[in-house]
């Protein structure tokens, strides 16, 4: 934890603001990651390092390949070529569920709350290494009851923190969109991750909940977790990220602290088109 908990800029001391730059203490490193769908190259990233203990935002215009890249980083998709190394573990050929057990948990753009399970069961599910998840041990409750109690206690504490305690025994399907985002984030924490990957955490959240969600994301960093998120909401990017990675057409075109990004010519070109300040010249095409 830092003295100034509002950001973690100091972690990037001496890191140049350029695409593919190396970080002081990377937790996740991607090299030559390429993914094509037929003839369309969705992602072609030469090199990316994600700084440990910071909040990194992954932004870019529609169709830039952010979500595809995100899926590749979390192993929900296999790249055609390239490697991803998380805390020294090569992720190539590793199943998605094992990545979670290595300490990297993701959420989804379209929230995946498990509707027909209660909120507390959603939370309990996140506990790792549960003895009662073996069929034979499941038949003998004394073998997992104590662990279940511990998990429930931890789950209740998290529900308290995310202000969902009053919904504890309701079906998750009855929660509002914003509450589902909160539940998904709380559930991810049940895994005790080192790194949390959030796919558009602000999508579909009403403005009143936004602020509390932002505080929760900052809270993750303050507890020592690394956060990487994909987002369209520029307010959120400006407000909470320590470092921004900009993608366009499958490549990383810029990196730097949020303040440096808005003025970056490559980023402006990517979002608005490179001819946005010159008169349209139909003859030239």
């Amino acid at each position: 934890m830092t003295a100034d908990s509002s950001n973690a800029q100091h972690l990037f001391d001496g890191v140049p603001f350029e695409p593919g730059t190396s970080k002081n203490d990377p937790i996740l490193v991607a090299d030559n990651v390429r993914r094509a769908f037929g003839g369309l190259v969705a992602v072609d990233v030469e090199h990316l390092e994600v700084q440990r203990g910071a909040i990194t935002a992954l932004i870019g215009p529609n169709g830039a390949g952010k979500t595809t890249f995100f899926n590749l980083l979390t192993n929900f998709d296999e790249p055609d070529t390239g490697s991803r190394v998380f805390e020294g573990n090569d992720l190539s050929g590793v199943s998605a569920y094992k990545v979670a057990n290595l300490g990297m948990v993701r959420t989804f753009q379209l929230t995946k709350s498990l509707s027909k399970m209660t909120v507390i069961d959603n939370m309990r599910l996140g506990g790792t290494g549960q003895a009662g998840e073996s069929f034979f041990r499941a038949l003998f409750p004394f073998m997992w009851r104590r662990q279940e109690a511990e998990i429930t206690e931890r789950a209740d504490a998290l529900l308290e923190r995310f202000k969902l305690s009053h919904m504890r025994d309701e079906f998750a399907g009855t929660l509002s969109g914003g509450q589902r985002k909160l539940l998904e984030m709380a559930r991810a924490l049940m895994v005790k991750p080192n790194m949390v990957m959030l796919d558009e955490p602000m999508a579909g959240v009403n403005p009143a909940l936004k602020q509390s969600l932002l505080e929760h994301v900052k809270g993750l960093r303050d507890e020592g977790m690394t956060v990487l998120f994909v987002e369209h909401d520029m307010d959120m990017v400006q407000e909470i990220s320590d470092w921004v990675v900009v993608m366009a057409e499958g490549r990383i075109i810029a990196e730097g602290p949020p303040a440096s990004i808005a003025s970056n010519q490559a980023v402006v070109d990517a979002y608005l088109g490179s001819h946005h300040d010159s008169a349209l010249d139909l003859e030239a095409d």
Binding site: S95, Y97, V105, F108, K116, Q130
Partner: protein
């Protein structure tokens, strides 16, 4: 009208042999579909695995009855689950549906092929393999038991069936309250979410397929033991769909759902059968509308009508909860 016969027959359907093997099969489907979200449209092949596992062990291979139980309850269904599950469980749910329906038909057609007569008895099937089972029968073969519903041998089959059914229900109830059951339900709701939380969805789906398959095999084995014969035509696709009807009728994802569903299904089938027959015989229904030979078909039409009404007015099944059903629409 012989009301005594009507009541007696309905009651027999409610608790008799078909109730036992269809509720076992439906409990397997409940494990697959109700709790895990797997679409198995070939439960008949698991039932056949139980029946043929026992009968082939005893008749074809000359092993004793106990090896037959092992083969029919454990070896055959587990092999079948592996064969069908390995290629399909990584894919979307519909692929398992296709493979199971194909496998159940393939098994039936292969089993009745004359060239395999030495192994499977082709279309006549295999007989007289459960003598050991009946050696343990404590009931008098000549007497009738349980309000005169069952003769001695039937009573023995039904009694053991009820015990096995209770054990299976207990296993389902216990595992579904455990973390294991929680993972299955999570996979049913969203496989990717379960995976993102570090659960090996593939392995859990395989376990569910195996265990539900074993329940189905138990059902098929009871059918074979009850009649002392295992025949290919006992495992046609209709059998799968009867089990499905029992499950939907009772309510999926409820421990008692498939049991209640099978009881009601066979209660109604037997009731309509005897009732309609009596109506025809006593000329309450004129010959021009329906004769005695059409009763068999008409009762299925009535069941179909009942199912349509159920789907409209109580889609969650008799024991399902409306609240859970409503969450699907959100």
């Amino acid at each position: 009208m012989d009301w005594g016969a009507i009541v007696q027959n309905s009651f027999r359907g409610f608790i008799g042999e078909p109730f036992i093997y269809f509720s076992l099969a439906a409990m397997g489907l409940n494990m697959h579909y109700g709790y895990t979200g797997l679409l198995n449209f070939g439960q008949a092949v698991f039932m056949a695995a139980g029946a043929y596992g026992l009968s082939m062990a005893v008749v074809t291979l000359g092993l004793n009855f106990w090896w037959g139980l092992l083969l029919g309850i454990v070896v055959f269904p587990l092999l079948l689950a592996l064969i069908m599950g390995i290629p399909t469980l990584r894919l979307r749910a519909d692929y398992l549906a296709i493979v199971t329906i194909a496998a159940s038909e393939m098994f039936r057609i292969i089993a009745r092929s004359p060239s395999l007569d030495r192994w499977t008895g082709s279309s006549d099937g295999l007989t007289a393999f459960a003598n050991t089972f009946y050696d343990f029968n404590p009931f008098d073969k000549q007497k009738r038991y349980f309000f005169g519903l069952f003769i001695g041998n039937q009573m023995w089959v039904v009694l053991v069936g009820w015990i096995v059914l209770s054990l299976v229900a207990l296993i389902v109830w216990m595992t579904m309250r455990s973390p294991w059951g929680r993972v299955l339900r999570a996979i049913r709701e969203d496989e990717d979410a379960a995976r993102s939380l570090g659960k090996n969805a593939y392995s859990f789906k395989m376990q569910s397929l195996m265990i539900g398959g074993i329940f189905g095999a138990l059902g098929g084995m009871f059918r074979a033991i009850g009649t002392q014969s295992a025949q290919p035509q006992n495992f046609i696709t209709d059998v799968t769909f009867f089990a499905w009807v029992a499950l939907i009728l009772g309510g999926a994802a409820k421990v008692g759902g498939p049991i209640a569903g099978a009881a009601i299904l066979y209660g109604i089938l037997n009731f309509t059968d005897v009732f309609l027959r009596q109506l025809v015989e006593n000329d309450y229904i004129p010959e021009s509308v329906m004769d005695g030979t059409q009763v068999g078909q008409v009762r299925f039409m009535l069941i179909g009508l009942g199912l349509i009404l159920l789907a409209v007015y109580r889609p969650q099944g008799i024991f399902g909860t409306k609240e859970e059903m409503a969450l699907d629409d959100r």
